[in-house]
Amino acid sequence: MEVKPRTEDFALFGGQPLFDSIRSISNLVQPDFDKFLSYSRLIFEDQCYSGGGRVEQLLESRLAEFHQVRHSVSFCGGFWGLVLAMKALALQGRTEVVMPSLTYRRLADIVAWAGLIPHFCEVDPLRLCITAETARPCINGNTALLLGVHPIVNSCDGEGLEALSAETGVPLLFDAVESSYETLNGRRVGTFGRAECFSMQSSKLLNAFEGGYVTTNDDALASHLRAARNYGFDADGKLSASGMNAKQNEIHAAMALAALDDVDEQVQVNRRRYDRYKVGLASVPGVRLVPFDERERNGYKNIVVELLDDWPISRDLTLALLHKDNMLCRPYYYPPLHQKSTGYAMVWSDLSQTEDLAKRFLMLPCGYFISEEEVGQVCDYLRAIHSHGGELARRAPQAR
């Protein structure tokens, strides 16, 4: 059946929505319930609900193995894991964190919680990420930390940034919240830099309800972070490092373990959804799918497209149409962080490339709630937008 043959079929103009419930960009993958219960058994045996219980210990060793790294340190969320890792790694007496502006909307806030100042760099226009070339001009005598951020499709310039860090002596931390499954040049994400931070919030590849973890090969850093998440109490119960309560609870850890057990199968399904998008979008003019580098291991969860110059309507109108038809799509990082108003200091110079890129991309429905067949419908929907193009724009002047 043809999707939206007439402009009045679009829900924005009164038509029936394409989907009867929301298709979002969140993963919301459901782990196997019996596996979740079997890990939960340990909670009942030990009557320990948080703070270094057996389930969390098991999760930490499983995640370390998964990433082929010495340590994984669990947190109640990736947000606070990043804050504590930044505080731990930043060079004393310096304040700036070199990081991209085209990234997660709260990342500058995370830097501010760590007591540091974001210094925004450009991103590579093809890879949409920070590279050694884009970071280098921002390094100065006040640079405390390099924050490599892996984009949601493929990885950032891990090896280039490692070389830059070695050359300048500025420590390198990665925000890898969406990159649990990825490799870069065959090497597991999780092993780069001094540490990498991941999220297990339910919208991510691994669903732990809420949660996050930091991987590192640095024994001292791992001990420091384990103290910092528990108010600063070290293994001997002495209050050493600065800290907070950022402990993972045992139920969330049980959920994470169940999710980890299923991750390979999940990625196979994600791969089929991605392949369906690849086929479906190939014939839609004006839309370019941002491709995964298929030589690497990928989670294939996130679907990012670029609206090209021959796309007939604005991104805002495209998003408005999608929303009304129950596809809760989002722009790919808009506004860029340097254009947001905040209550703390930020540093940047010319970011015109970032500003341009921030207008072009959007994320399409993905994850557990969308079937391969529905992916085909999303592609047909975009094709319908393209063919109705000008008329849609005329009918919705307020949305342009």
Binding site: L28, Q30, F33, F36, L37, S40, I43, F44, Q47, C48, Y49, S50, C76, G77, F79, W80, R106, D109, A112, W113, Q201, S202, N207, F209, E210, Y231, G232, F233, L239, S242, G243, M244, N245, K247, N249, E250, I251, H252, M255, S341, T342, G343, Y344, F369
Partner: protein, 397 residues
């Protein structure tokens, strides 16, 4: 030499086979747990202010009779977000006699702690101990603490805060269900934070709630925590992540349903200990006196070394060897454990004295009446043999 009771600290078999943690640790049964989580899996709603988190907030607001009850990841994050919402800076008066979370929450604001002493009898903050600090330096808020199912002099502190035109906010981590003159904890000060850590009577495994009557403060907290369309978007200095998951909310809702039962159990156990320990020289059970209603979630004893015959730290070690994971209250006090803070210029002698005498016995849900009787018996024997035990421990050291 008289034969003393065989003690695990000298190599005997511990009195309890498995360690008994001091916290409450209430939790659903396996069948209840399975059913709760089957529901969550069926709904496929895992976090982001889901139906259970919304229900919990609604029920808490109603029960505590407070305008805004905002659930968060844990009590510490609740305190940090509260300090941010209040915009505290400069000095904030906080007792040195508290858990590390209280003063450390200020590390995540623009303020620094100014440690005050406590009343020597209650171990609590009073207007009298705080007043001299306010007249001497610039202070932007008072962060008071309501520990152990008891409350400090909230009324006096509120009057003092009003007099100086600064906010009072409260760390009432242990205070769920308590009342002062019939008014629920959660309704006092500009903001009050209650913890749902599993050691407290209302457990979400980890968790907490930020309570306030102020629409402005609530809007600010929600915009930092994540707003979910509730209330107006307002500018904040920076957002945080303070979400409570559906898993946490499910556990908290279950425990909330069983609160009356838990409180009754606590009260009975507390009564058993109070009666049983009454005859032991040099050991006094601390009875909540600043509240009209307590949750009896903490059993605090004060050891008078001279009368009891044994150092508090020796008693602590003996109990731990018996698998009774007793605590030492808020020991060491904050001004002695946080090297990063400037040394206080005011006297904190009462705090130090209180900290050195405190021992906290388990109020764990697994502890039966029979266990309590054995523990009471053990404490009596330890006191009777205190001199011999003390000598042997000193020699072993």
């Amino acid at each position: 030499m008289r034969k003393i009771l065989p003690l695990a600290v000298f190599g005997a078999t511990p009195m309890f086979e498995r360690p008994i943690a001091k916290g409450q640790r209430f939790f659903p049964s396996w069948a209840q747990y399975e059913s709760m989580f089957r529901d969550i899996f069926e709904r496929q709603y895992y976090t982001n202010h889901g139906p259970l988190a919304q229900e919990l907030e609604g029920r808490l607001a109603e029960r505590l009779n407070v305008r805004h009850a905002m659930c968060v990841t844990n009590g510490f994050i609740g305190l940090a977000l509260s300090g941010q919402a209040l915009g505290v800076r400069g000095g904030v008066v906080v007792p040195a006699h508290t858990f590390v979370a209280t003063s450390r929450s200020l590390d995540w604001t623009e303020a620094r702690p100014l440690f005050c002493d406590v009343d020597p009898t209650s171990g609590m903050m009073t207007a009298e101990v705080v007043a001299p600090l306010l007249s001497r330096q610039s202070v932007s808020a008072i962060l008071a603490v309501n520990p152990w199912g008891d409350c400090c002099d909230v009324t006096g502190l509120q009057a003092l805060a009003d007099q100086y035109g600064i906010p009072l906010y409260l760390d009432s981590a242990h205070g769920f269900g308590c009342e002062i003159a019939g008014r629920p904890v959660g309704t006092f000060g500009a903001i009050e934070v209650i913890s749902f850590h599993s050691d407290n009577i209302l457990s979400a495994c980890e968790g907490g709630v930020i309570c306030t009557q102020s629409d402005d403060l609530a809007a600010s907290v929600r915009n930092m925590r994540s707003n979910y369309g509730m209330g107006p978007p307002v500018p904040v200095v920076k957002t945080g992540n303070g979400r409570m998951s559906e898993a946490q909310a499910a556990v908290a809702l279950f425990n909330l349903d069983h609160y009356a039962e838990y409180k009754q159990r606590n009260e009975q156990l507390f009564g058993t200990f109070r009666k049983g320990l009454a005859g032991i020289p040099g050991l006094a059970v601390r009875v909540p006196s600043g509240v009209s209603e307590s949750n009896y979630q903490n059993l605090i004893c004060l050891i008078d070394e001279a009368t009891f015959g044994l150092r508090r730290d020796y008693l602590w070690r003996i109990l731990r060897a018996e698998n009774v994971l007793a605590g030492r209250g808020f020991y060491p006090p904050m001004h002695q454990s946080l090297s990063t803070h400037e040394s206080p210029t005011n006297s904190l002698l009462h705090t130090e004295h209180y900290c050195a005498r405190t021992i906290e016995l388990p109020m764990n849900q697994a502890l039966t009446k029979e266990d309590a009787a054995r523990l009471i018996e053990l404490l009596g024997s330890i006191q009777r043999d205190a001199n011999v035990i003390g000598r042997q421990l000193a020699e072993a050291a």
